[in-house]
Amino acid sequence: MTDSKPTVVVAMSGGVDSSITAALLQQQGYQVIGMMMRLWTEEGREAHNRCCTPASMALARRVAAQLDIPFYAVDAQDTFKETVVSYFLDGYAQATTPNPCLACNRHIRWEFLLNRALALGADFMATGHYARVERAEDNPIRLLKAIDESKDQSYVLSVLTQAQLQHALFPLGDYTKDEVRDLARKFELPVAERQDSQDLCFLADTDINSFLQRNLPEVEQPGPILSVDGEHLGQHQGLAFFTIGQRKGLGISAPHPLYVIAKEPDKNTLIIGPHEALGSQELWATDFNWVSDQAPSADLRAEVKIRYKSKAARATISTQDNGDVHMLFDEPLRDITPGQAAVVYDGDEVLGGGVIRPAVSDQAIPIPLGEVRLHA
């Protein structure tokens, strides 16, 4: 590296956000290298994967050519399958609702790809996530929400450690949605306007249930549906096909709407009930990552998001001896879902996050996300 400008690898996808990320960083004076991962897709469905089809790769390549930056594709298929997809399937096998984006950010983007970026000689890696990092000397790096809270993606980045954040850049976090749209026009990049989607990239246009049926056939295991009072109401086809708070698709007619209240994997039983039965005032999160690398020494009052798009709720947070975290909410929350992340915020700052454990304490705890190994 003879050039003194810092080098940054941008994780590209052919979409607007990562393309503008690359353009912005170049404008800010970085040496930019584009990289794109080839992720795992079910055989025969490659053209439907949401973020790494041959077409989106060709698009990313054109963006890179227009910006005059090098572009490399890297094969992450095996490691993606071994980490993200198996995390996803194992979670469903345990009757939780896992969030594979957490595993992807921890192990694919910010471990596998970051290691490759560092090996290329990069100082930083950037993604098109809407979030911010704040660096101050001698202090831990802080992870903050995006300026535009409607686009904020700090929730899925709550798994990041100081070692990862040290190399992380999220330039879009400083812009509003409208500003980014203006930038897209200004840079005149040949990017695809991709629909915002909550779908997981590897589902490749199919729904979760059919994906599970193909890839984890053992989830199809009929069992009883009981009311909260223990009354037998019907039969379900497998606990994995239901999520806490779910209302549609229960197959039971009743004068009042019924919701999934709980799943009891040891008895293969689905508990349903009225809206009032839903919700809890507390949760336990395991596999907890404190962004500063330091668990707080005392209980603290903070806001918590229990899903990517949920509203933050006030809670009292206490760390247990085993590192798990207990959260007691001021008001009961409806959608506490084992397998999803509970992310703790102090205002704009992400303090940390962990995976919500099943409510019944004797149940198996979720599959751990696992350690990150960087070799910078």
Binding site: D3, R38, P54, M57, P70
Partner: protein, 388 residues
Amino acid sequence: MNGKKVYLDHAATTPLDPRVFAAMSPYFEEHYGNPSSVHTFGQKAEAAVESARETVAMILNCKPKEILFTSCGSESDNLALRGAALAQRETNNRKWVLVAPVEHHAVTHTAEQLAELHDFQLEWLPTDKFGRVTDKALQQAICDDTAIVSVMYANNEIGSINDLAALAELCRQKNIPFHSDAVQGAAYLSTNVQTLNVDLMALGAHKFYGPKGVGALYVREGMKLHPSQTGGGQEFGLRAGTHNVPYIVGFAEALRITQEEAEQHNTHMQALRDRIIDQVLETIPDSKLTGHRTERLPNHTSFVFKGVDGNALLMMLDVEGFACSSGSACKTGDPEPSDVLTSMGYDREWALGSLRITVGRHTTDEDVESFLNTLPVLMERSRTLEAV
């Protein structure tokens, strides 16, 4: 990122020689006629094409009417294989196609298509540990029913040179058409079709400092081919389509210069080649040369390294300013070990770590020096990455 870029991928393509470009230039705007036209515009263009054909024929030691111009080396391979196989079946009812698995995909995929779509029988010729077809292997494989044999002159991935004359002689005795993909070989080796004894031979200009998008096929007089492209009857009815006049002119000029200056350039490149081979094998642990040590193209080096992601290594080299290639290189991030290395018996652990460095006329001692200084460092980094 390194400021100076060093291009070490001359087996992929070469820069256009400015002298070739100068020879081509008048045929874009000035002499733009269609060689098939009656008027003087057409005559001028036709003269250029026929003069190019003569030049090429002279270099290949054959008659002008034995030279066909095509769009590239791959097209020449396609026409030779498919054209000869179909004609042989029609006249002699022969049905066996013999090719080695180390051939370029232009040959192997065409052979596979002949088997799948046209009911030919495909037999893969075994190769020795250097990726060469031996006369013994060919002797055992050919029979009266063989429609076509195709053996490349020099291998693009591993550089090994086949003894075409000996192999072609075996086919000649049985009256079997013998084709050679000489796309790599023609850039450095003799292209005398009489001593090489071939019936068909494919060439592509951009491997020898000519333009991309033009190739040629030598077709021995009397060899029957089915046309690859039907239409206006150009190229003796075997390859229809308006002649690409400036590129055909460029093809001939590039080949002429290459043959004329071969000795000088080959001596220069071979010294660089030998230096790279010796030093890489000496300084890099768990490294092997692929292909033959001496019976190889004078500009060509190729290696495998155990436990290295060849793709990652290529990226690192590129970031440091060195443009190289690899048998498993894939721009879409879906690496598979190369068919060539796999067929030669290298297991995945070695075959995924392949690297090809091919020098050119303008490669300097300093280029090679700085490459050889950089490679061990990157290799170490790449191996650490794999260990994670």
